[in-house]
């Protein structure tokens, strides 16, 4: 009960603080650009988070869903002249669902490393397709994506720059976090965890693991695609580099850095990585080494993530209080 009321109070305060943070930090273009990218990449990472943390499978194809959102948006807005971002949003989700359905059906019976291997291959093939296929802009990519326009009848909602894009990126992030929290409390979320931790028990309880895996996969893909949709508007052009390994490594780091199944873990981790890259950069190549090394070090030495580091401290505090509690307990009896 106590933790729930705490959540009700703390989460809105955190959200408001996060929303005004770019303004408090000077409100410069660089700050807003970093804030928008943090929100976008965190959304992208939440898509992978539920597959890795809840389902326990490593999908390496989530960059493809991210790219699917970006490319669907770019193609519709530059080739078909679609100006409403609601339409490109719907298309992004539809394309991601189609990709995820296809990949999901092919990999339905595959598990563990074979699943990861195939999803990695999907990402590499998608990269060669994007770089060579003229329909997708080839190596030049697609340029001239218009500004984000989510206007409704009687209400103008547009974003011409990162400062104006921030409220939309922030709102998307909040919605996605809410969806992930809902997922974890849903029947599907419980089934996913059970399939992950105890597949035999899951089967005995009448859960079909293959079905659960496919459903979670289908739920996760549009989340990463929505990030790609926003990213297309943020950058105003899309090319094959949205499929680069950077996004994959960033997503994986976001999932494991703070700790798995921590609701705010991916956004906190994304913020840490992006702040380092944007404000304390050592140059592109060294940043790559830093990001890769952080990912390795966390998994090798702190498998529970940064949250796991805090646990011994909490236990220390706890154990100091415990003897007294135990004493009062015996006295009461």
């Amino acid at each position: 009960m106590k933790s729930k009321s705490l959540q009700l109070f703390v989460l809105p305060v955190l959200a408001i603080a996060a929303f005004v943070a770019p303004m408090l930090l000077g409100g410069g273009g660089v700050v807003y650009s970093a804030a928008v990218l943090i929100a976008i990449f965190a959304v992208m990472a939440y898509g992978l988070d539920i597959v890795v943390s809840d389902l326990g499978e490593v999908s390496l194809a989530h960059t493809v869903f991210f790219a699917a959102g970006s490319y669907a948006t770019a193609l519709l807005s530059t080739r078909a002249g679609v100006s409403s971002a609601w339409l490109t949003l719907a298309a992004s989700i539809a394309v991601a669902l189609a990709c995820a359905g296809l990949i999901g059906l092919v990999t339905l019976r595959l598990r563990e490393f074979v699943f990861s291997l195939v999803t990695y291959a999907v990402a590499v093939v998608a990269m060669t397709l994007a770089a060579n296929w003229a329909f997708l802009g080839g190596s030049d990519g697609l340029r001239g994506i218009p500004m984000l326009d989510l206007s409704l009848p009687g209400l103008t909602l547009t974003a011409r720059n990162d400062r104006e894009l921030w409220p939309f990126a922030f709102a998307t992030l909040v919605i996605v976090i809410y969806l992930v929290a809902r997922f974890r409390r849903s029947a599907l979320g419980a089934a996913a965890i059970m399939t992950h931790l105890n597949p035999r028990l899951a089967t005995m309880s009448g859960i079909d693991p293959a079905r659960v895996r496919l459903q979670v996969f289908l739920f996760s893909a549009p989340i990463s695609a929505v990030a790609g949709w926003l990213y297309a508007y943020q950058r105003a052009y899309v090319s094959a580099d949205v499929l680069e390994n950077y996004f994959l490594i960033l997503m994986l780091t976001a999932v494991v850095l703070v700790g798995r199944r921590q609701l705010l873990g991916p956004v906190a981790a994304t913020a840490l990585v992006l702040v380092q890259e944007k404000f304390f950069s050592f140059g592109g190549n060294v940043d790559k080494i830093v990001l890769g090394a952080v990912l390795i070090a966390i998994l090798a030495f702190f498998p529970e993530g940064l949250a796991g580091l805090a646990r011994p401290l909490a236990r220390l505090r706890h154990s100091r209080r415990e003897p007294i509690q135990a004493l009062t307990h015996t006295l009461e009896n």
């Binding site: 595959l110 590499v124 060294v286 940043d287 080494i289 890769g292 990912l295 998994l299 090798a300």
Partner: protein
């Protein structure tokens, strides 16, 4: 280009694929480990060979062992860091860590060797063998000979030597092997050092055929997946056959259909194999190395 010329290209390419994949075959068969940094280790081998030959003036014959030592050391470092996860068979962590190692190598190579493409020319790659209308370079011939030599000796070591017996025992049941007094840890180290050295050797051998780029490993690793899966996980002989078959397939596909989409075509082969024989691909059934 004649059909026969494509067959020759395919055979050379196939031996190159097999040579690149051999370390992974052993790694997967013995330790049930996957290495998503494999492609980047291949890139490292190619760059070290290039650097040794063109910058340090080392003869090509010495540059290859240098690349192998560096590749082997890198493999040892990887295994040292992943040892705990290896014993726990924590595949999720291992896969993500190897991706991280690949990414570190990518950044490191761009920093040390620069991010522009390079060409490695050796005494073998500039001379050609011509047979009527057909031709191949001496480097191509060397790749075929080296691949056959590596496969035959590995097969012999696994089947007939004491070390091979230990490795096979660890592959089949690491816990039982430990009870029997085998130092499983050293076998894992050895397998990973072999993986690093073998793929670096392959990088140094194959590098003269293609431009050397920091991104070259990204595509190459797909071919290794196909070889390992098609050949049957842990099978040395199967990998060789699968490598040559894949080489012939990609050479003909590249010549007859489209050279830009050979990776995509190889991927479709992978999917077809997985859908046709899904039972043989699970981690549990990767029993042993042979």
């Amino acid at each position: 280009m004649t059909f026969l010329q494509q067959i020759i290209n395919g055979i050379v390419l196939g031996h190159a694929y097999a040579l690149v994949a051999i370390g992974w075959t052993l790694l997967l068969g013995v330790a049930r480990l996957v290495n998503f940094g494999h492609g980047q280790m291949y890139m490292l081998g190619a760059f070290v060979s290039w650097w040794a030959v063109t910058k340090a003036g080392v003869p090509y014959g010495l540059a290859l062992p240098m690349a192998m030592v560096i590749g082997g050391l890198f493999g040892l470092v990887m295994q040292r860091i992943m040892l705990k996860a290896t014993f726990e068979q924590n595949l999720v962590s291992i896969m993500i860590m190897t991706l991280g190692f690949g990414y570190v190598l990518n950044g490191g190579a761009a920093m040390v060797f620069g991010s522009t493409g390079q060409i490695l020319e050796t005494a073998l790659s500039t001379r050609e063998i011509t047979l009527g209308e057909l031709w191949l370079t001496w480097q191509d011939a060397a790749i075929v000979v080296a691949a056959i030599a590596v496969f035959v000796s590995l097969k012999w070591i696994l089947d007939a030597s004491r070390v091979g017996r230990l490795v096979r025992m660890v592959a089949e049941d690491p816990k039982l092997a430990m009870l029997a007094g085998i130092n499983v840890r050293w076998v894992y180290y050895g397998v990973f050092a072999f993986e690093g050295a073998a793929v670096a050797f392959a990088g140094g051998m194959v590098a003269p055929r293609t431009p050397i780029l920091t991104s070259m490993g990204f595509d190459e690793v797909i071919m290794t997946f196909v070889v390992v899966v098609l050949g049957g996980i842990g099978s040395v002989k199967g990998s060789y056959v699968a490598g040559v078959a894949l080489g012939l397939f990609t050479a003909l596909f590249g010549a007859l259909v489209s050279p830009a989409y050979t990776t995509a075509a190889a991927f479709l082969v992978l999917i077809a194999v997985l859908v046709l024989r899904p039972g043989g691909m699970s981690a549990g059934s990767a029993a042993g190395v042979h």
